[in-house]
Amino acid sequence: MNGLRGTWHLVRVGLRLDRVKLPIAISAVCLMFFFTVSSVVDLYGSSPEGLINYAATSAPSVVGRVFAGPIHGPELGSVVLNEGFLFTALAVAFISTLTVVRHTRQNEETDRSELIGSMTVSRHAPLVAALIVALIANIAIAFLASVLMIAGSGGELSVGGSILTGVTLGAVGVSFASLAAIVAQLTDGARSANALCALVIGVAFLLRAIGDVTGDLVNGGLGVQSNFPSWLSPFGWGQQVYAFTENNVWILSLFVGLTVVCVGFAAFLMTKRDIGSGIFATKPGPARAKPSLLSTFGLARRLQKGIFRGWTAAIAVLAISYGLSLKEFQGFLDDNDEFREAISSISQSSDDINYIFLSVLIAFMGITVAGYVAQGLLRMRSEESTGRIESVLSTGVSRYKWMMSHIMYVLLGAIALTIVSALGIGLTYIITTSAPWDQLWDIIYASLAQITAIAAFAGFVIALFSFMPSLAMPLAWGGFASCIVILQLGVVLDLPQWIIDISPFGHLPAMPADSFQLAPAAWLTTAGLSLAVLGLIKFRRRDVVL
């Protein structure tokens, strides 16, 4: 046990450091899970036909298989798992990997571990301690998720199945924690370790998505039998447990096996590297800057590039899955008259149900692009609050030029992302439903119209940055979240017009179902422009706020 000297001490330190972070993250995830469970039980608990309908739509659906998984059949437990398991497991995986990286590489980066290493603590202790903290977190998740599932189902689901589901979620978390232990040995810092962990999680998600999409329909078209790639992923294992129906408890041994192998390998790797470095040595970067970096705009481009790429990938995936959903939507409408009516009321002039549905999807894509705009523009704020702005503004760069270079990049980026989203939705929609190709133009026009509302939102964020720098981040994201909520509720409920008017996206006509209107577009653009100009003037006149 001498090899692990000091571990318990470090576990206590770790738990203390995380005493706020972990409980909040864990309870947030488990509460989301609880709400999903209880709303599904409310909806389908006493409706066998509803369950059959749900299974019949989900089982053959590509979108359903990718984002929810392989449904077992028309049982209440299977529907609950289909709705709630995958995204909870995803969140648990992130909590676990972030915890392990935080207590290993981040400690090394902040030189905390040198302090610890100089005490009487053995070489492996920090890694083992990080894993134990993650294990404790996952035990808490397993317990809380089980209890909340039992509570949320109101006696409709078996206690044994609920516990098995909770334990499976915890087991998924522990497996990813042990994978993170390996990743933490490979890279040179916390940032790259977290990025690599996200990649591992992404690959695990994708493998089971492939296995589920290529799986066969079983149970008379009401269930899915996954293909082998699903068995290459801890997420896949978690879904194959099929609590409430098959109760494949033996699968839990796969998680244990993976964890033992990963932890052993990580411990081996740890002896092969120095503190502060990784198995993959950091490649030295360029000693000189490329000419393209050497300007205010060059710097803005370098800082904004990563944000833009991330959102491009996310928006492309989202747009393609929206495009795919149109075909399933048509099938869904055929046997649901109420929904058909609700959807029709969105458009004032058209009753082309496809175009009306497209208008809702395009509005959602517009708001998603606004999310990019918020993050891109708020980069100005993080440059300011970290003090990096001082080094730039104390050279011959004017505040106006500095700010404009970021705004221009984000604006061009937003236009590019809008086109990506239009092509993603349009191409998949036309290819999967064999709609006529000239509809692509309608979709592109409708998407471009969103830019006027995006511009208004951008003006809002710019003004926040200049007038309320220290509140800019929460207020900008709050505004973004309000736009989403207003649009979502606007589709379902009959919201009063003044609430819809709060969101710039509420002013736009339901294109492509309705036709373009000049007045709101002109108003939104003017509002965005004026706010941006006010922001530029104000920033020249205010103090730099760290």
Binding site: E109, D188, G189, R191, T282, P284, G285, P286, A287, R288, A289, L293, L294, S295, T296, G298, L299, R302, L303, G306, T386, G387, R388, E390, S391, V392, L393, S394, T395, G396, V397, S398, R399, R541, R542, D543, V544
Partner: protein, 302 residues
């Protein structure tokens, strides 16, 4: 040394909400001098520097840099100055070399020969990402970027707090070089040996106010000299005014005391009547000067 004023700050006031960070602060820096800017943590050094850089606006008083208003003429002025921040925070994903090139170019160009020379003498590897540098190496990045640009004024906010003694010596060598070229440098520092070695004049501030300003010898003149005297017979305590803290050793053959500059004459006259064997006098060190400024003032303000 010309009398052209490079920095002229008079009665400068800065309020952050209800907190007054600067309270009628004065600072004058002449052309061609290295000016030490001293004061305890939180006394307002960085705030003054940020106003001089046009990053903060002033709430009252006057601040001029190279005869211009640092707030209105910021961009024009910045081409003539280089700044080294106290907390060097640059982009984690850029290498040191990239950051140096970028900052140098934004300032209007780098001296290539100087850049290479500085990298060598500071022993800085320019190919590492900024986030992997230690505190000292981060400061080196900012120092190389500033020192490799050919400007009139260098403003440095505790530029050497993370450097080892070897690198401190390199830094001093480069500052002396700049001084020989007639450049003006405002140097905020806590390292007194550095200030003593480099600065022509110093300004000490406290609680947003200037408490002392002048050349080192002028300031030392205002303070007490400590004296140790050995006598042949038993020593007697002095009666002259301005003599403080007299201590007789147990055998009574040694007298130690501190004396105000203006009373030195009388004290020495009285002392010389005793049978002196040896006499050691020590002018106040900067450290004593510094401590006395904070200590007595903080006692007085309590």
């Amino acid at each position: 040394m010309g009398n052209e004023k490079i920095i002229e700050v008079s009665n400068l006031v800065k309020n952050f909400g209800s907190f007054r960070a600067l309270n009628k602060l004065n600072l004058e820096v002449n052309k061609g001098e290295v000016h030490g800017f001293l004061g305890p943590n939180g006394s307002g050094k960085s705030t003054t520097i940020r106003i001089l850089l046009g990053l903060l606006s002033k709430s009252g008083g006057d601040a001029k840099l190279l005869g211009q208003d640092p707030w209105k003429d910021a961009v024009e002025l910045h081409k003539r100055i280089a700044y080294v921040p106290g907390d060097v925070n640059l982009w984690p994903q850029l290498t040191g070399g990239e950051s140096i090139d970028l900052l140098g170019n934004l300032r209007g160009g780098l001296d290539e020969k100087k850049r290479k020379e500085l990298l060598d003498s500071f022993q800085l590897d320019p190919r590492k990402k900024f986030r992997t540098y230690s505190k000292g190496n981060r400061q080196k990045v900012a120092l190389v970027a500033a020192l490799a640009s050919d400007v009139e004024v260098y403003i440095m906010d505790e530029p050497t707090s993370g450097l080892d003694p070897l690198m401190e010596a390199v830094f001093q060598k480069h500052i002396k070089e700049l001084k020989n070229q007639g450049k003006t440098i405002l140097l905020s520092s806590h390292i007194l040996a550095e200030v003593e070695a480099l600065c022509d004049r110093i300004t000490i501030i406290r609680d947003g106010k200037t408490v002392q300003s002048g050349t080192l010898s002028e300031l030392q003149h205002l303070h007490r000299t400590s004296i140790k005297a050995h006598t042949k017979d038993k020593a007697k305590k002095l009666k002259a005014k301005g003599v403080h803290n007299q201590r007789l050793t147990e055998d009574g053959m040694k007298l130690e005391f501190e004396v105000d500059s203006e009373s030195l004459d009388k004290a020495m006259a009285e002392l010389s009547k005793q049978n002196l064997v040896s006499l050691v006098s020590q002018p106040p060190s900067l450290e004593e000067l510094f401590l006395s400024q904070y200590d007595t003032k903080s006692k007085a303000s309590k």
